[in-house]
């Protein structure tokens, strides 16, 4: 088990190295001169050159990459083109809000999604199944941008129950979580329903019922556990996407997370921040995939890693 873990962790190194190289080369190829963007359209050529020298962009790409690698190995990802702050502290500052939003949304989505999925599976082909199916399909299809603004205008501007945006008290978390969690919850519900239905048809369920077990325990102990594996994969994947910053939701709710930072950095051509963000996102996916794989072993005794 531990040797498996070490092997998996080691495999991440070449991947991250490749990602850093790819990101660096990609941003070099993208049109747009960071020095001109920073200096502004009304800057003279002289001002632009001053900015370029200050950013170190007058050095060749390969030199910049080698410097980047050398510094990155000791945790220094350079300084933001835009503000001159160390990149690590900028990304760190925006990671917290995204983590908070992601965890809250996944918890909300998992609880709601599993609950609805379970209800649908148990009451298959009844009115409540159809209604909740329609609702979850609507949940998957509603663009978060629209849903977010709808919630803002109904619950924040109209009823004034919640702030319209920004990160403050727990109350400010509600609307972004609802918006972000709605689609994920609906997806989980659809997954859970089909997976549960599959398991409900298995023979061991009939056996469990036949031996007189209460339906509640049949569902919780036998059905749910077996139906959970694909659902866990899906939740892990969704969590990975959420952690990469929900660009639309963070923008609509002025939530200062990684997605917000990404939008800001792209428009300023703030390459050091973008490269660091991309590396972080890759690392997050690698770690989440690893955790999901380990969870399989926990859920299914047949799976084990040596």
């Amino acid at each position: 088990m531990s040797s498996y873990l070490v092997r998996r962790l080691w495999q991440m190194v070449p991947i991250l190295f490749g990602v850093s190289l790819g990101a660096f080369a990609f941003f070099q190829a993208v049109p747009g001169d960071p020095a001109r963007m920073l200096a502004g359209p009304d800057a003279t050529l002289q001002d632009v050159q001053i900015v370029r020298a200050r950013l170190g962009l007058d050095r060749p790409l390969i030199v910049r990459y080698v410097y980047f690698l050398r510094n990155a190995l000791v945790g220094d990802f350079g300084r933001s083109f835009r503000s001159g702050e160390p990149v690590a502290s900028i990304v760190g500052r925006h990671f917290g809000p995204t983590l908070l939003l992601s965890v809250a949304s996944v918890v909300f989505a998992t609880v709601t999604g599993l609950g609805v999925g379970l209800l649908q599976a148990v009451r298959r082909n009844t009115v409540s199944d159809y209604v909740s199916t329609v609702v979850s399909v609507a949940g998957i299809s509603t663009p978060p941008f629209f849903l977010g603004l709808l919630l803002i205008y109904l619950l924040a501007v109209g009823l004034r129950w919640f702030p319209t945006g920004g990160m403050g008290t727990a109350r400010s978390l509600v609307l972004p979580v609802l918006t972000l969690g709605a689609g994920v919850a609906a997806t989980i519900a659809r997954f859970a329903r089909s997976s549960l239905l599959e398991v409900l048809g298995e023979e061991f369920v009939r056996t469990a019922r036949a031996k007189g077990l209460e339906e509640r325990w049949v569902l919780l102990k036998h059905v749910l556990r077996n139906a959970l594996i694909p659902v866990v994969t899906m939740i892990g994947l969704q969590f990975g996407f959420l952690l990469s910053g929900a660009i639309v939701v963070e923008t609509v709710f002025s939530w200062p997370g990684l997605g917000w930072l990404m939008v800001q950095s792209i428009s300023f051509r703030d390459y050091p921040v973008l490269v660091a963000e991309i590396l972080l996102f890759s690392l997050q996916f690698l770690v989440i995939n690893l955790v999901v794989d380990l969870l399989y072993a926990g859920l299914d005794p047949r799976v084990s890693y040596g």
Binding site: V30, P31, G32, D33, R36, M37, L38, A39, G40, P41, D42, A43, T44, L45, Q46, D47, V48, I50, V51, A53, R54, R82, S83, G84, I90, R93, H94, F108, V111, G115, V116, L118, L119, V122, R123, L149, I152, Y153, A156, V157, L159, R160, P163, T164, G165, G166, R171, V174, E214, E215, R216, L219, T251, V252, S254, P256, W260, L261, Q264, S267
Partner: protein, 518 residues
């Protein structure tokens, strides 16, 4: 069994609702805190390293300049009480206000002014506003409250460069701590002291009780909130979380104006919008073609449809709010399709020609592009719209003429000094072709260049105005641009809030914010 499951679900939902809690009574902003919702975060709070309107707007609360701008972009005294310029526009002398202190207790005097401008004009400091002040040759402390600037060459627009919001006076003690500290910890003489900056979220400033102007400031705190999404920013105003929101888009204007306790504040900007036509290549080399295109565009229809009426046709190559502007053609270039067709035929294009228009990706820009496309189709000029994201657009536009593939460029410009020099020279001066500056039309006219140089060589405002009027007339008749419109800045304001407004250059001034009642 199924009932049990439903019960379980009901409990979960109820618990979730309880966790959310009962409706909170809407909290009115504290009587003396003004919350200002703006569209982006500041980049830095070091004025001499600033070129974005957001940072300038925040800096304006903490700092004073020698001179500043009134709401309609006229120069007014701030830390200087009076000034004089030598006739050849080379020596500028300022008399300074006495008894003023910086927020850190340092005394404001002529030496402090010298330290500030010596810093920005030193190329080794690598400050973004270097070129605004690089023409200063020497700074003399005449006495405690008199400072004299001598320029390397005459520069008639210098007073406007001093009034530029980047030209603020920083505490020498704060400068001594270095640029990185300055960018985050501004110390000035302004009506508000810097309190905190949570990047991406808010900047807070509080009342400076020792501010030099009697009766100011009138609020205890100002909180700047940064809300990039247009609809969310307006929502914040409507819900009462903010007292002022800027900008409001034309589409939202009506909703804002109709809401009780909220009003729309429309003020003329100094932005001029135009299509720059590449005058050195293709059909646009021919002046008749360029004039024909001007006749073919119905500017008033564009103002009505794209700007919802919040604008007016350009009647000169710059907006009327710019200092030393002179009207060239009342009502703008006339709309006359028949004349446009006749001119095109005369120029040898009776069947029109295809062309490509480069433009940005904002919704309003797109609509503007489509309107131009439709109008030019009437004279058989087939426009292909090529929208590009800001970074890409800037990169292709700033290529030198040999590599520059542009034909027509949809652009807008606001002269940040508020003066005609910066409205004309960077866009139409013969020495400002890309990559040097923003002359996207690659326009060059010896007479215009001569007039621009003459205006820079004098401090005589009447002569400058005459030069710029003459240059404007030449540019207008040669039509290197399709002259479109001058827009209004739209802001939303809650009832009881006054003294907060957007200036013509797109920065915001909240120094005199006042809250009454609501």
């Amino acid at each position: 069994m199924n009932k049990n499951m439903a019960g379980l679900l009901a409990v979960v939902v109820a618990l979730a609702l309880l966790a959310i809690g009962p409706a909170q009574t809407p909290v009115r902003a504290q009587a003396k805190t003004a919350t200002i919702a703006l569209y982006a975060d500041a980049v830095t709070l070091d004025p001499y390293d600033t070129n974005d309107n957001l940072s300038l707007s925040v800096e304006r609360t903490v700092y004073d300049g020698l001179v500043g701008f009134t709401p309609d972009m006229k120069v007014k005294p701030q830390l200087a009480t009076s000034w004089e310029a030598s006739p050849d526009a080379r020596v500028f002398t300022f008399r300074l206000r006495r008894g003023v202190k910086f927020h850190d207790g340092t005394v404001f005097n002529a030496e402090a002014v010298k330290i500030n401008f010596d810093r920005v004009r030193d190329p080794a400091q690598k400050l973004r506003r270097y070129s605004l002040y690089e023409m200063i040759d020497s700074i003399t402390v005449v006495d405690e409250s008199t400072v004299r600037f001598t320029l390397r060459r005459p520069f008639g627009a210098m007073l406007y460069n001093f009034a530029h919001p980047a030209g603020r006076i920083i505490s020498p003690a704060a400068i001594a701590k270095g640029g990185a500290s300055l960018a985050r910890n501004p110390v000035g003489t302004g009506p508000f002291k810097f309190v905190s900056w949570a990047p991406g979220r808010e900047i807070v400033v509080e009342r400076n009780p020792e501010f030099w102007e009697a009766g100011q400031p009138r609020v205890d705190r100002i909180v700047f909130k940064f809300i990039p999404e247009d609809a969310s920013r307006v929502a914040m105003l409507l819900s009462g979380e903010a007292q002022f929101a800027f900008p409001v888009t034309g589409v939202q204007a009506e909703a804002v104006a109709k809401t009780p306790d909220v009003s729309l504040d429309a003020r003329w900007s100094i932005y001029a919008y135009y299509v720059a036509l590449h005058t050195q290549r293709g059909p646009f080399r021919n002046m008749l073609v360029r004039q024909a295109l001007n006749y073919a565009i119905d500017k008033n229809a564009i103002v009505k449809v794209v700007l919802r009426g919040y604008g007016r046709a350009l009647d000169a190559p710059m907006a009327p709010g710019v200092a030393n502007y002179t009207q060239v053609q009342a009502g703008g270039w006339p709309y006359d399709v028949a004349k446009a067709k006749a001119l095109l035929s005369e120029a040898g294009f009776p069947n029109g020609f295809p062309t490509v228009l480069w433009l940005g990706t904002a919704t309003e820009t797109q609509r503007l592009g489509e309107a131009i496309q439709q109008m030019l189709a009437q004279i058989n000029v087939k426009v292909e719209l090529q929208p590009m994201e800001a970074g890409t657009l800037s990169a292709v536009r700033f290529k030198p003429i040999e590599e520059n593939l542009s034909q027509a460029n949809l652009a807008g410009w606001s002269p940040s000094t508020g003066d005609a020099d910066w409205a004309l020279r960077p866009l139409l001066g013969g020495g400002t072709w890309p990559p040097t500056l923003f002359n996207l039309a690659f326009y060059k006219n010896a007479k215009v260049d001569e007039l621009l140089a003459d205006a820079l060589g004098t401090a005589d405002e009447a002569r400058r105005a005459k030069d710029y009027a003459e240059a404007s007339r030449i540019v207008w008749s040669e039509a290197p641009w399709i002259f479109l419109y001058n827009s209004q800045n739209l802001a939303g304001l809650r009832a009881g809030t006054t003294g907060v407004y957007a200036l013509g250059d797109g920065t915001v001034d909240v120094r005199e914010a006042t809250l009454t009642g609501k």
